[in-house]
Each structure stands twice: as structure tokens, then as C-alpha cells.
């Protein structure tokens, strides 16, 4: 023990250490690494809210896509069809149309309307009206819907409700800050419960 104390004392008393060039180089490297780290951190801090918001929007868009797909998949008929709005008779799991309580599948009238970069959903009650909720925001374009005839692959997706479309295309586009690298979610759904009287012959 006494030997160890004596050795440590000698080591402390020893004036040998880093050379000046070593310290300079090490300091420069450390500064460069610190500067790079700070730069990355600064960029991350500055862009994090935008990235988070964008991720949330995309997640919201993904959820919306799944919701609309599900409702369209069990839809019966498209009652109104434009690029920015859709009215469909479909089954929803509500105790009654317009209710927020979960229940068995009930045939209801549901409207999706997109305007100024956001979309809303309205489940109409039996006596009209209905609660409107926003289901998507931050869209680049409000032209979300397109309509085709699933039985005729040659039909362009520009049908109107009067043509009894059986397939609805969905496209949600999210912009980037600088207008580039927009992200687009696209899907399409056939109405599985579709019934519609054909044009009278």
C-alpha cells in the first residue's frame, strides 16, 4: 500500500503529459466533431415539428384510407360522386345511423367532403343531419376520388353517380415544405354490396 502511494505521488509530481501538437490536434478534432454534432442537432430540432406533423398527417391519411376503404368495400351504391366529395350508402357499425355508439352493421348514408386541403366525414342520421368530423388535413389537393366500373376494365375512372360506379379510386397527396417530394397515398376499392338498376333498355 505504501508502495502504491509512493508511485502515485511520483506520477503526479512527474511533469510529463501531452505534447502541444497533440493537444492542438485533439482540440481541433473535438471542435469539429462538436460542431458537426451541434449542426445535426440544430437541424433536427428545427425540422422535428415539421417531420412530426408530416408523419402525423400521413398516419392520419393512412387511417383515413383504411376507413374509407372499409366503408366503400361494404358499400351498396354511390349516391353522389365528384372529385372532392363522395356520398355512399354503406354499412357502418353503429347502433343507428349517426350514432357514436358501436352496434351491428347498419345501412347508412355517409358523405366525405374534401376542400382546402382537409376532408370531413358525415354519417347522416335517419332523420337527416348528422355529425361531421374532420378525417384528414394538410392535403395538397382536394381531388381525392375517382370512379370506375369494376366490371369493365376499359372504363375510364371518370364516371358520375348516374353511371352507377362500382369502383372508387382514392388518392391522398401530402406536400412538402418546398413543394417537392410530395407523398401520395393511393388505393382503390370495389363496392362489394353494389346493387344498382342498370339503365332502362
Amino acid at each position: 500500500m505504501a508502495r502504491l502511494v509512493r508511485a502515485l505521488g511520483r506520477r503526479i509530481a512527474d511533469e510529463r503529459g501531452f505534447t502541444l501538437p497533440e493537444l492542438l490536434v485533439a482540440t481541433i478534432i473535438a471542435l469539429m466533431v462538436a460542431a458537426g454534432g451541434m449542426l445535426v442537432l440544430q437541424i433536427a430540432v428545427r425540422t422535428q415539428p415539421q417531420v412530426s406533423e408530416r408523419a402525423a398527417q400521413i398516419q392520419q391519411g393512412r387511417t383515413l384510407m383504411e376507413t374509407i376503404s372499409r366503408e366503400l368495400r361494404q358499400g351498396e351504391s354511390v349516391e353522389a360522386a365528384t372529385e372532392s366529395s363522395l356520398e355512399v350508402m354503406t354499412y357502418v357499425n353503429s347502433s343507428f345511423c349517426g350514432s357514436t355508439e358501436t352496434g351491428p352493421a347498419t345501412l347508412c348514408r355517409v358523405t366525405y367532403t374534401c376542400a382546402e386541403g382537409s376532408c370531413s366525414r358525415t354519417e347522416h342520421g335517419d332523420s337527416g343531419g348528422g355529425t361531421t368530423t374532420q378525417v384528414a388535413a394538410g392535403l395538397l389537393d382536394s381531388s381525392v376520388f375517382s370512379y370506375c366500373d369494376a366490371t369493365d376494365t376499359g372504363t375510364a375512372c371518370d364516371l358520375t353517380a348516374a353511371s352507377y360506379p362500382t369502383y372508387v379510386g382514392l388518392e391522398l397527396a401530402y406536400p412538402s415544405d418546398d413543394g417537392e417530394e410530395a407523398i401520395t397515398l393511393a388505393d382503390g376499392v370495389a363496392l362489394r354490396n353494389h346493387f344498382a338498376p342498370g339503365p332502362e333498355t
Binding site: R62, P104, A105
Partner: protein
Amino acid sequence: MMRLPHHSASLRRRLRSERAFAVPTVLVSMVAAFGLASAAVVASVSSQQGSVRDQNTKSALAAADAGVSNAMLRYNRLSTTGAGDICAPIGGTAANADGWCPIQAAGTIDRGSYAYWVRPTETELQVVATGTVDGVTRRVEVVAQSAQSPPQGTQPFADFSVIGLDFLNQESNARITANAATNGDITLDSNAQLTCEPGGGAQVGDGRDVIEGSNAHFNCGTLLEGSLSLPPVNQGDVATVNDNDRITMAKAGQSGGDTISGNKNSVTWDPTARRLETRANVSLTLGGANYSLCTLELSSNSNLFVVGGQAVRIYFDSPEACGLAPGTAQLRMDSNTSLEATGSEPGDLALLFVGSDSIPTSIELASNTQANGPCEQSFVVYAPRTDIDLASNAHICGAIAGKSINAASNATVTTSSLASEFELPNTETQYFLGYEPGTFVECSATPPAPTSAPDEGC
């Protein structure tokens, strides 16, 4: 132990040396870079999980659809005849009290799996199927509708009032005024006449024809071709649970049973052998609902009546159960006898013959007999495995169906429009084929508890 001093000395030299920390610096830098790269990879993987989940969701839906298709294929290819084997197409027998088959069918497809439950009814097939792919589960419900019309047999006279499965022969002035059908030929000879109802028609078997002899008249317009099938009579427990005691009571002169008008000795009744004979101007009036006989013979101006307003079914048991010899006439009427349901409602008198595929039996009506009422009533003879012979001015007003029909010697059959409404009692439920997808609903993904109905949450 020998190398320790050497290592210790090397370490001391290393500590005393003034060489730089290049290697540690590089190592630290590499660790930092690896950490940043790892964070980027984790973020990328996290963002891709949503896409993978979306893909698996679609695959799970497709797997559930495969389950629905499997169920429909089974039920469209494997018919069922009733509640006893309603679950047979998926490997079960009878359904639970709530109508769901207890068997859960399952299978695999690609990298997913499916399971489904079915609840079949006469006209619908309800299927709830789950599909699972990589841990993502989706559940759908499809109610398939039968594309077929109601099966023939429930109302066997809906289209034709005179049906001879093997053939329909008319000769010697025999006249049938009804829509008639057979799987064989329709043969008309010697002034025989077949006149269909307005808007109706006649049908023969595929490749068969109407063979017209001298002075025969076929007045049915376009001749149809097709095949007929008639379900056998299902007498249920009528052979043992019936109203035969009413005849016994009538024979014994007791009240509360049927009534005999005339000499009771002119009625012979063997309740054990279930053989009933009437003769010598006697009339027996039936007031029960179901009778089970082996043979019934009316002769010499005797009559069998039905109490007004009472629906009477007379079942003729199979020759095997009755111990009858081949060729026995289970119903024989001759010499001005009659069997009438005057005053009853339409379709209230039916003679239903179980018959046999191995022991031939027959129905013989001859010598001015009448099995009828006014033609505004429905009187039916349904004997898909029994030959029917009408002769010597025999007259039937209603509808008849037999293995074969031979009408001769001025026999007449006149249809009743109400006969078409007759429904064969105790007919086994006919479950349809030709199911096509109807309502599609996506259920909550979580399967219901085993004690709950499979369609809970749909």
C-alpha cells in the same frame, strides 16, 4: 505467472509514454457515427411498419375472403336435405340451437390462414370468416342468397296437376283437363283427349314426345321438355301416432270418433293391419287429421266423406311395413263409390302413398267411382312410387301424381286451380344450391368469445 511482470512493465511503459490518442479518438468517432446511423435505420423501419401493416391488412382480408369462398363452394357442391345433415358440407351434422354449425372450418392460403363459421337456412348461407396474415387479423361476414327458385316438391302441383313420373297413358275416351307432365312419353289413343289450362302446358321427358293415336286430341300448344322429380312421402310418426282410433270408435259405436252412416257391419276395420273396407251403401265420415292405412277399399256404392272444415291426410304406409304382396292395390274403388271432401277448405283431403322402390303397388279406380268434390276444392293423390290406374268412368277432380298414370275407358281427370297451392306435409326441408354472395360486412377484427355467436361484432 511468468508473463505477468512483462505485461505490467509494458503497461507502465505505455503510461509513461507520450504517444497520442489517435486510436481511441477514431474509435469514439466510429461509435458516434454508428449511433447516428442506427437511429436513422430505426426511424426508417418504424415508418415502414405502417406500410407492412397495410399490406398485411389487405392480405388478411383476402384470406378471409378465401374462407368465404371455401364455405360457398362446399355448400354449392354438396347439397343438404335437412336439419340432420345441414352441417355436412363442412364435416358436421346438425346445427346448434342458434343455427350455427358447431364445426369451425379452417385452412391455409399462401402465407395466411383462414377459419370460418356457417349458419345455413333454406334460402341463405351466412358465413363469418377470419383471415390472419403475419399476426394481422380481419373478420368478414357474408350472407349468401340462393339463386335457385323454391325446390319442386314443397308444392308438387304448382306447375302441373297430373304427373306420371314414368309415363302418362290415355286411351278409350279418357279425358284429362289439366297441365300434365311426365319424364317419359304422353300417349294418347282412341279418342283420348288432353287439354291444358289456359296459359299452361304439357311436359315430356328430354327427347320424349306426345304419341297420338286415332282421334286423339292434344290441346296444349307448345310441348315442353324437361325432367321431373318428386320427393317421397315423409309420413313422420303417423304410422304410430294417428287418428285411427276414431275409426275404431266409430266401428264400436262410441261417440267422439268418426261416424258411420248405415250398417256398421258394412265397414271392416283391422286396426292392427290398418286395413279398411266399406261396402253396401255405407258411408264413413272422417273427422281426424292424420290416418295411417295399409289398404283402403271402397265398393258397392259406399262412400268416404270428410267432415266439413277438417283437413284430413290419409297416409298409406309402405308395402314393406304393411307386409303387402307385390302388385297390391293399396287404394281400390269401384262400383259407384266416392271419396269426397265436400265442404272442406282447399287442399284439405290428401291421399299420400309412401310406396316402395322394390315392391310395386297400385291405385285402382274403376266403375263410376269418384274421388272428388266440386272442383273448387283441392283433392290430391300423391303417390310418386305407386302406379295409378283409372278406368271405367272413374273421375278425379283435383290433382294426381304417381309413378305412372294410365287412364282408360272414359276416365276423366279435371284439375282444380286450388290444387296448385297444396303443400306436401312433412316434406324434408330442401336446402338450396346456387348460393351467391349477398351482403358483405367487415366485422371487428377481434374474434368473439367462444360462448358468443360468431357474427358478434359484425
